[in-house]
């Protein structure tokens, strides 16, 4: 991850015995120096870090307003050093619409889990995307309601046991897990939609590339950008962190394939989809 800048101008750790010892890996500047409340093996820490690294690298920290959502990641504002407003459950894309419309020159992102975004907030995410709001949505999908103790989410896999589907999710009774990236990619205002995963170093690196692209799309004023991150919740999956990573690889990725679902900057459809029609008023 980001070590380049540090290597050029090495910091000396304050409590080190040797003055020549170099700090080669540090928290991004836009991350607050505070231990997170996340469980061992939780991927929110990685997702936060990727966002913070990009805010640093793209020099966005000082112009960013974040919208935190309801769930474990409501405390985003304790960890990332940007102005933040807390949205009601599922409403982050609507709140972010208000923020961006009020302050069009700012970089605005929401950070939402799967219960928040794909269940209670389905209307808000669909319409913010369809309007082509100049926002970036970071969607953390761990197939479960984490903060409330592991209930079934709209993304819970068939057969997955949760506290509200103790026998395993049944398609006939609870429906199928929703694939949000595929759905979002179909909407007119969306310029970039991709799904990455945080289960391996390789996938984390790729996820960061998706986030970077999404941030660039907003900065260029092109339209709505969306990145889904498949993530682990060892606590509520009742697994070790390693087993949770394995589950993402073996069970989640086959159902939620990784990749870019929409990139209107690459296929030449961007302008026609995003620019308002001439004389359309």
């Amino acid at each position: 991850m980001t070590t380049k800048a540090k290597a050029v101008a090495p910091k000396v750790a304050a409590n080190t015995a040797s003055e020549t010892e170099e700090l080669v890996f540090d928290r991004p500047e836009s991350m607050v120096d505070r231990a997170t409340h996340y469980c061992p093996g939780c991927h929110h820490g990685i997702a936060h870090r990727l966002v913070a690294e990009l805010l640093d690298e793209m020099d966005l920290t000082k112009k960013t307003i974040a919208v935190s959502s309801i769930g474990c990641s409501v405390f985003l504002y304790n960890y990332i050093d940007v102005d933040t407003v807390e949205a009601p459950h599922g409403r982050a894309p609507a709140v972010a619409t208000g923020v961006k419309r009020a302050r069009g020159d700012k970089f605005v992102f929401t950070y939402q889990g799967d219960g928040d975004l794909a269940s209670i907030g389905m209307a808000e995410i669909m319409h913010a995307a369809n309007r082509g709001e100049r926002l970036t949505v970071v969607f953390v999908n761990n197939t479960v309601y984490g903060m409330t103790g592991g209930q079934m989410a709209p993304t819970t896999l068939i057969g997955q046991k949760t506290t509200t589907c103790p026998g395993g999710r049944c398609k006939d009774r609870e429906g199928s897990p929703i694939r949000m990236s595929e759905i979002i990619a179909q909407l007119g205002g969306v310029v970039f939609a991709a799904r990455g995963s945080l289960d391996s170093v390789k996938n984390i690196r790729q996820a960061k590339k998706y986030l970077k692209k999404a941030f660039e799309v907003q900065e260029q004023g092109l339209g709505f950008s969306f990145v889904e991150l498949l993530s682990g919740c060892p606590t509520n999956w009742r697994m070790t962190p390693l087993a949770a990573n394995k589950r993402i690889t073996e069970e989640m990725i086959p159902y939620f394939p990784l990749g870019v679902y929409r990139d209107s900057t690459a296929d030449g459809t961007c302008g026609s989809l995003v620019a308002p029609a001439e004389g359309g008023k």
Partner: protein, 356 residues
């Protein structure tokens, strides 16, 4: 140009939109519902012309949350709706009150419960004056009785919202919204570009610590502290109480009514005065804060009271609380779904006047 422009002949709904525009409203988030549609329709053009933003949201839920976002940025913003839509907005209103975000919200009350009808009613009095959503909070509630008052109250509502960092509710009804009357517009306000500069979100600019606007307080004592702070704010709001007092000085019986019903009742009182009856009218213009002190004073003077409402009896609770040391209040209800006229009120007023 220090003065008034020519009179305009407009609907109450349009007066509200114009009042907001003159007050420096820069973002409007709407959703269609009768009888308030003139407001988003007017704003869809006016906001663009004013260099602001108009969004027709996907729902009243979303519109209210967009308002939350714009308000958190310290921008003068507004949404409007009518009763069923107001139920949907309560979630965001509770969050705005809890996170101390200024905003202006309009409810053109229609008949309920449920889908009700699209005519006038006052069934949302409790919802408006008791907060409306979950938790302990209050909104400043302004109740216009004419298009001019609708204009003026909206014009001032934004200042109040920012002074108290609290949502302000304009509570009209289908009569106020749909009736066309002359209004005298005011000179547009010059809004301070630094309004809310000490708390609003505008990104750090690399020059200050980041700001958090939230209503979640989990640390020991934190939420109690926030509630105490909010209560102090509501106490402080009491001084902004406002009401109309008509022919109350020598009145034996005082009719208490607000909004369009207050105006209709005034006609009934005027007609009865011509017949020599000692009746008066007390019309709260702020429903929260409620003019309890003024009513208590009238009660102390030995007046009797009749509350007239376009619901099953809601404001009468506040009237009774206000006058409880010296008096009580009779109640006359117009059921939502019925449209009252001044003639309908004369008989109940005379009955209460004989009273005792």
């Amino acid at each position: 140009m220090a003065g008034k422009k020519d009179k305009l002949f407009v609907k109450g709904n349009e007066a509200i939109a114009m009042g907001a525009l003159a007050a420096g409203c820069k973002c409007f988030f709407g959703y269609p519902i009768t009888p308030q549609n003139d407001i988003p329709e007017f704003m869809s053009k006016a906001m663009v012309d004013a260099g602001g933003e108009f969004v027709q949201a996907e729902s009243e839920v979303a519109a209210a949350n967009m308002l939350l976002g714009a308000g958190a940025c310290g921008i003068r913003a507004m949404t409007s709706s009518s009763s069923p839509g107001m139920s949907l907005k309560q979630e965001a209103i509770s969050y705005m009150a809890g996170s101390e975000i200024p905003a202006v919200i309009v409810n053109m009350n229609r008949g309920g419960p449920g889908l009700g009808d699209i005519g006038p009613a006052q069934g949302d009095y409790y919802q408006s004056t008791r907060g409306g959503g979950h938790g302990d909070y209050r909104l400043l509630v302004l109740a216009p009785a004419s298009a001019q008052e609708a204009y003026d109250m909206t014009f001032e509502a934004f200042d109040l919202a920012f002074r108290y960092k609290n949502p302000v509710l304009i509570l009209g009804d289908a009569i106020i919204g749909q009736m066309k009357e002359p209004i005298t517009p005011r000179e547009p306000k010059a809004v301070d570009p630094n309004e809310g500069g000490e708390w609003r979100l505008e990104s750090t600019g690399g020059k200050r610590d980041h700001r958090i606007i939230k209503s979640l307080f989990l640390m020991d004592g934190e939420l109690a502290g926030q509630n105490k702070k909010l209560q102090a704010k509501y106490d402080n709001m009491q001084k902004f109480v406002d009401f109309e007092s008509y022919e109350t000085k020598d009145a034996e019986l005082i009719v208490v009514a607000y909004g369009s019903i207050g105006r209709i009742a005034k006609n009934a009182v005027r007609a009865l005065r011509k017949k020599g009856k000692k009746v008066g009218l007390f019309r709260p213009k702020t429903l929260y804060p409620f003019p309890s002190v003024a009513l208590d004073k009238l009660a102390k003077e030995g007046k009797r009271f009749l509350t007239i409402e376009h619901n099953l009896g809601q404001m009468v609770d506040d009237v009774r609380l206000a006058v409880r040391k010296h008096a009580d209040s009779a109640l006359f209800c117009v059921y939502p779904g019925n449209m009252p006229s001044p003639d309908d009120f004369e008989a109940p007023i005379l009955k209460a006047l004989k009273g005792k």
